[in-house]
């Protein structure tokens, strides 16, 4: 089959590799019909994520048709499914509590050691996202082996467009969980850092959950325009001082809840960012974190901090004093995708949430490397690249 493989910083290639096979009873093989490039794939593209190996197949947002099933799979050939990016067993203690991204059994035992040392306990497996998260081949390919296919993938009704449901795989549930983690109460003012897909879905979700006002923060005019389209007010951090603006826009109080949807690749030339960048390049630290610092600084007293943004390592100058003195609450984590799928599929089917606005580019899988370059270099215009293995090159 053809697949997008990683070879190093800014070096991804579409190559011919062996087709996947059913290896365990609960496996299924999916023929991919649509797969997206995620903002977090750019972290791999930029070489920021450790434990990658040459030849790794990327991609954790994908859907397709079931073409083969193991003896214990509950899927049937021909069904169309969206596959969660988190690989969870559905049988352990954490899955029982719907903490799917904390699944005990999604990671092969030999891949659990690094996270055991780094984080204290290993998390679930992820598709196409380094060997620390399992080394599973991802979905930017013609076919994928999907473990635990009886518990993860959600079956899509016939006649529903891929574009309408593809983002159930990651970014829609991630944006929804971000808003849920913000503990929104009616009348709240919520500030969202980052108008990438997760931030934009968090904006939509926060309003659906009863937020009175949402303030979206970014520096890409097109992305801010998309946020405004959903009813958010905006702050362009290149035009206005974010902390001052947030305080003035909330009558001197600060937002009730803040959502950091930016994370470790925060853009902009802030002093702490530049210092973080130097530390990243000298291995003194791994994460750049301007947005979470600013979010904590601006949040009102007793407010809530939600952090869907991906961090992997250690943070310097975390404003622990502000966090403690103001009595804030922080909720975060990789998304428990399986928990949110049924409800969000229903919301999409009922047209309560629109996801198709996000797709700016559709490319054949063969042009995946171009897609990465495009997404990396033009983040204002390129909001989402969807790869279609079946699409003929234009």
């Amino acid at each position: 089959m053809r697949a997008l493989t990683w070879h190093g910083k800014h070096d991804v290639r579409v190559e011919t590799v062996d087709d996947p096979e059913v290896l365990n009873p609960r496996d299924a093989i999916i023929r991919v019909t649509s797969t997206a490039i995620c903002g977090s794939d750019l972290h791999l593209y930029d070489g920021s994520i450790p434990t990658m190996q040459k030849g790794d197949i990327l991609g954790h947002e994908f859907m397709g048709e079931v073409v083969e099933t193991g003896a214990a799979s509950t899927l049937k050939k021909g069904q169309r499914v969206v596959v969660p990016f988190t690989i969870a067993c559905g049988a352990c203690y954490h899955c029982g509590k719907h903490q799917y991204s904390a699944c005990d059994n999604g990671l092969p035992a030999e891949n659990q050691d690094i996270a055991q040392v780094l984080y204290g306990q290993p998390m679930s497996g992820l598709f196409g996202y380094s060997h620390m998260t399992g080394g599973y081949a991802g979905g930017q390919a013609e076919y994928v082996r999907v473990p635990f296919s009886d518990t993860g993938p959600i079956v899509i009704p016939d006649g529903v467009d891929d574009d309408k449901v593809l983002f159930l795989s990651d970014i829609l549930p991630t944006g929804w969980m971000a808003a849920e983690n913000a503990g929104i109460e009616p009348g709240d003012i919520v500030a969202v850092w980052g108008c990438g897909p997760v931030g934009l879905f968090a904006v939509q979700s926060a309003l659906l959950m009863g937020a009175e006002r949402v303030i979206a923060i970014d520096h890409f005019p097109h992305r801010l325009e998309l946020a405004r389209h959903f009813g958010a007010e905006t702050i362009n951090f290149e035009q206005s001082s974010v902390y001052e603006a947030l305080l003035e826009m909330t009558g001197g109080i600060g937002p009730d809840a803040v959502i950091d949807a930016v994370g470790l690749e925060a853009h902009g030339f802030f002093v702490d960012n530049v210092l973080d960048q130097i530390k990243v390049s000298t291995f003194l630290g791994t994460d750049r974190a301007h947005s979470i610092r600013q979010a904590i600084h601006a949040c009102r007293k007793g407010g809530r901090v939600s952090m869907p943004a991906v961090y992997g390592g250690f943070i310097d100058k975390f404003p622990l004093g502000a966090f403690m003195e103001k009595g804030l609450t922080l909720r975060t984590g990789q998304t428990h995708v399986q928990h949110y799928l049924p409800g969000l599929l229903a919301a999409v089917m009922a047209d309560k949430i629109d996801t198709t606005f996000l797709i700016s580019h559709r490319l054949p899988l063969e042009q995946a490397a171009d897609g990465y370059r495009l997404f990396h270099d033009h983040q204002n215009e390129v909001t989402k690249v969807v790869l279609k293995p079946g699409l003929q090159p234009a």
Binding site: E21, P25, G106, P108
Partner: protein, 196 residues
Amino acid sequence: MDHPAHEPDHDDAPLTTSKSHDAAATARETLVDARGDVLVGKSVTINKPRDELYAFWRDFANLACFMENVERIDVVDHQRSHWVVRAPAGKTVEWDAIVTQDRPGELIAWTSAEGAQVPNSGRIEFRDAGARGTVVSATILYDPPAGAVGRVIAMMFQREPAIQARRELRRFKQLMETGEIATSARTRQQREEERG
């Protein structure tokens, strides 16, 4: 249980987490016919009843399906089993293990037979953990030998014996909880290569 009586100057943490150099010696006192001077111990919680876990473990032939490098385990009789472990260059090392204590649903302890190339002994315990299932704890004493056999042991326990023990227990957990052992291989050939 076979833990030493509580002494006022000791905390409640398991011996296997002790910083003391004589922890292995103390652990030896808790085993019948203890062999081995290096102590390794790990616990894992498995979302299954302890009787079920004990029954699977007690049929020693089953252990080869989740223990890396164990080629096969032949059950000789109810007390004695014969272990065949893969070694470098297509060789194997073998020894007999004898059950020294057996409490159904609770505990199995063993020691290696006289003359084993790798003297070892240990205990696997199963304790109720309420809604979380069962805590399974392995306590292993072994003598790391020098030379070729030493390399086998290094391979069996990888670089860090405690890490290897944790991996084995996690594969056991995966098999019991999910009915399979997680692999990120894409093809049968890749999986065979990973198993060595």
